[in-house]
């Protein structure tokens, strides 16, 4: 028993020293309870190891949980340590073993000390390094961070309490800037654009709160940010041909810009003279979008490259989206332009994407309703 414990602590120590990006080879220790590294699955003793680890863990946990063993704090501690050691071994073999994660939560919640919680973060990071999709590991991490926030919350509390609304928005802007470069390199990652959308929305919310005082200056700034995002998105669309995530991001941007900015615009321009010389003409915006769509959809002829075809399809779908999202817009000439474009667009969509022909029909039918 003691030798097994020694071997585990040895392994544990080795593990803790291992860097996150390179996991060291561990010597298989005792024949029945070796500690085989997960990437060495070529050896055939995994089942035995796993079963032994599981057995050790469950017996330790049962001992820990039985309420009779309260003969002294040291006894309790040693049991806890055993459970931690065995669960760690087990989790490195089977990262989704929820019961093991739960036992660690149980022990940790009894002693809420920051170093122990940091250990948990460390272990979950180790597990995630070789199996990044392990749902239980992520869930455990979230729980640990919640615990940290709840109990050892001095630092974060200070930060949160001290920041004012403007600072909060500034943080959002910072984050937008920081993540922009990363997003530019990962244009096929829809999640990163979703994150940007959330940041933009937070920004908008912030703007709404400060609407009463000093609105027009602030409004211009917010509008600038959105316009910048639109332009950046357009440059990405032209650079990376046929990326769906970019077009979906654009749908969101233009929809919000036109819907929310337009209404605020009217309110602001009625109250006071606009200080900055910002061209906030919605008509020109729509014109610009139509031009973009046209330029993208004319490349459909190049059937060899899926990218260009996809680009055309996405731009056409984007146009249909615009027509559907802004039906109540007052600008009559815009509506006419849109309606004129819709016919060609639907024809092209039906030809290149016949699977969804009933969707195109439905959308066009919807649009043509007065």
């Amino acid at each position: 028993m003691s030798t097994r414990e020694n071997s585990y602590t040895e392994a544990e120590a080795l593990n803790l020293l291992a860097q996150l990006e390179r996991i060291l080879d561990l010597d298989p220790l005792i024949d029945e309870v070796g500690f085989i590294h997960p990437s060495q699955f070529a050896t055939l003793k995994e089942e035995i190891v796993y079963k032994a680890a599981k057995h050790a863990f469950i017996s330790a946990l049962r001992q820990y949980k039985t309420p009779g063993n309260f003969s002294g704090k040291s006894q309790d501690d040693t049991l806890a340590i055993e459970v931690m050691i065995h669960s760690k071994a087990l989790l490195l073999l089977s990262c989704d073993f929820a019961t093991a994660w739960n036992s660690r939560k149980l022990i940790v919640s009894n002693k809420r000390l920051l170093p122990i919680l940091m250990d948990e973060l460390h272990l979950s990071a180790l597990v995630l390094s070789y199996s990044p999709k392990s749902e239980q590991a992520w869930s455990h991490r979230r729980w640990v961070i919640n615990m940290i926030a709840r109990n050892c919350s001095t630092l974060q509390w200070i930060i949160e309490r001290e920041s004012e609304l403007v600072e909060k928005i500034a943080e959002v802007l910072d984050e937008l800037k920081k993540s922009r470069n990363w997003s530019g390199l990962h244009v096929a990652d829809n999640s990163c654009f979703h994150y940007r959308r959330r940041l933009m929305l937070r920004n908008l919310e912030g703007f709404c709160y400060t609407q009463d005082n000093n609105s027009s200056g602030y409004f211009v700034e917010t509008y600038q940010i959105w316009k910048e995002e639109l332009d950046w998105n357009e440059s990405l669309i032209k650079q990376y041909v046929g990326r769906e995530a970019l077009w979906l991001h654009r749908r969101f941007l233009s929809m919000y810009l036109i819907k929310h900015m337009a209404t605020h615009l009217l309110a602001v321009s009625c109250q006071s003279k606009p200080k900055a010389s910002v061209d906030i003409d919605i008509d020109s915006l729509m014109d610009h979008e139509l031009c973009l769509v046209h330029s993208c959809s004319t490349t459909i002829a190049d059937a060899n490259f899926e990218d260009f075809q996809a680009q055309a399809i996405h731009s056409a779908a984007y146009m249909l989206w615009l027509t559907k999202q802004i039906p109540e817009y007052q600008g009559i000439d815009i509506q006419e332009k849109l309606r004129a474009g819709v016919g060609d667009v639907t024809r092209m969509l039906k030809r290149s994407c016949p699977d969804r022909s009933s969707l195109w029909d439905y959308l066009v039918g919807y649009h043509s309703e007065p």
Binding site: Q19, L20, E21, F41, E46, E47, Y50, K51, I58, L93, S94, D96, F97, A98, T99, N102, K105, A125, L128, S129, P132, S139, R142, W143, N146, W182, L185, H186, A188, D189, N190, S191, H194, R197, R198, R243, E244, A245, L248, R251, F252, M255, E306, A317, P354, D355, R356, S358, L359, Y362, L363, Y366
Partner: protein, 499 residues
Amino acid sequence: MEYLATNDPYVLWNSLYERYGHLRSVILPNARSEWKPSSYKTLSVAVAIIVAINIVVAMAVAIIKVVDIIKIIIIYLVQQPASPPVSHAHSHSLLLRSPSYSHGLSTSHSLSLTAVSPTSPSFLKNSTSASPNRRWLRLLLRRFPTSVKLRPSLKFWLKWLKKVIKFSFAVVKPLPLTSLLLHLEMGELAADKHVKYIISVEKKKDSFESVVMEHLRLNGAYWGLTTLDILGKLDAVDEEDVISWILKCQDESGGFAGNIGHDPHVLYTLSAVQVLALFDKVDILDADKVSNYIVGLQNEDGSFSGDIWGEVDTRFSYIAICCLSILQRLDKINVDKAVEYIVSCKNLDGGFGCTPGGESHAGQIFCCVGALAIAGALHHVDKDLLGWWLCERQVKSGGLNGRPEKLPDVCYSWWVLSSLIMIDRVHWINKDKLVKFILDCQDMENGGISDRPDDAVDVFHTYFGVAGLSLLEYPGLKPIDPAYALPVDVVNRIFFSKK
């Protein structure tokens, strides 16, 4: 996860940039060049076409031979004893020729039949030079009085008969070929192989893969057994065995764990209730105990936690509502609050995330739409918008992905499809292509379905593939309810035959 360890952003940036460069310049062109269909497939299709043509030819020849036999019978019955036997032998020799020759002959025969107009007197009068194939007609017609022979109505009838023969021949010829090709195109569902695969997985408890997955064995039981029920082979397992094992997985709190001795969680509780429903044994449960476990997990904002450790996700909302609905205890939770929370997770694109503001994902959408459907609150869903997002999940190969820019996966053919069916927009996708995609993901030799064609199979994807095919009304499969994810007869049994 170097992001978690390295603090220096410059290092991170460099490694990211390298990785991206490698992907773009090396892996992407490689993947593109490998994307052509394998030569094996084209070869097999070519062979199949040749075989098909041969079959068609044989069929045509068979038809003609049958017709010849009939003619001979007529000659035999109708002809006078004085007629020379040479005609007999001639017809016989006709039959003995090789298929291609007789085929050629019979085409010329049919051509000659149509070329000669019945109105010309030579057709009937020219007895010596006429081919024996026409003799049967003459002999038959001889039976009738001469006046009848020359009646316009009869000639008219003959003309139309020839037209009908020609037309039907023309129609019949290509038909077997096209049906054969279609059959090859669509492939077939290897139902027996899948049944064998599932049973083998259930029995194999000692391999490393099954040992490592043992904490979710109850989910695996649900996937395997529901698939068997859809394929109509639920009796292949020992019901008593399964049920006694499930009951051992129940924890004292009322919830079920993934396996014996593990911690309880709503995920496994739902699977347990569903499996018991398959066997029509939900009443052996203490429904109040199980429902109390779930009720205790509802939070103040209406959301549900997965277990006592508090993780919140809309999946758990679906599980709670579905499970309590099967146990007929839905009134025990605050349904309005639960619906309110789910609606708060709705995004601008019409989809739903795991928590408010979470990215839209097909799995989460299924859970939210299913929960709203069961709770009778589907009016909260913008069906057009969501239908648009969902139908954009179909990619060129016909499969469905879970989010924009992702690869197709068979499991999404359930989650996206059932969501579309629940909001009544399933006609916006191409169902045939999806069927073909699912059938391509089968392992025809060992059984089972994988996430993508030519990947390794598992029970999870086998279930979702078969369930997806059932929703697409593939023949031979039991219909499945899109919200409860159980066969329709099981759901009906719960709600319409019990009190």
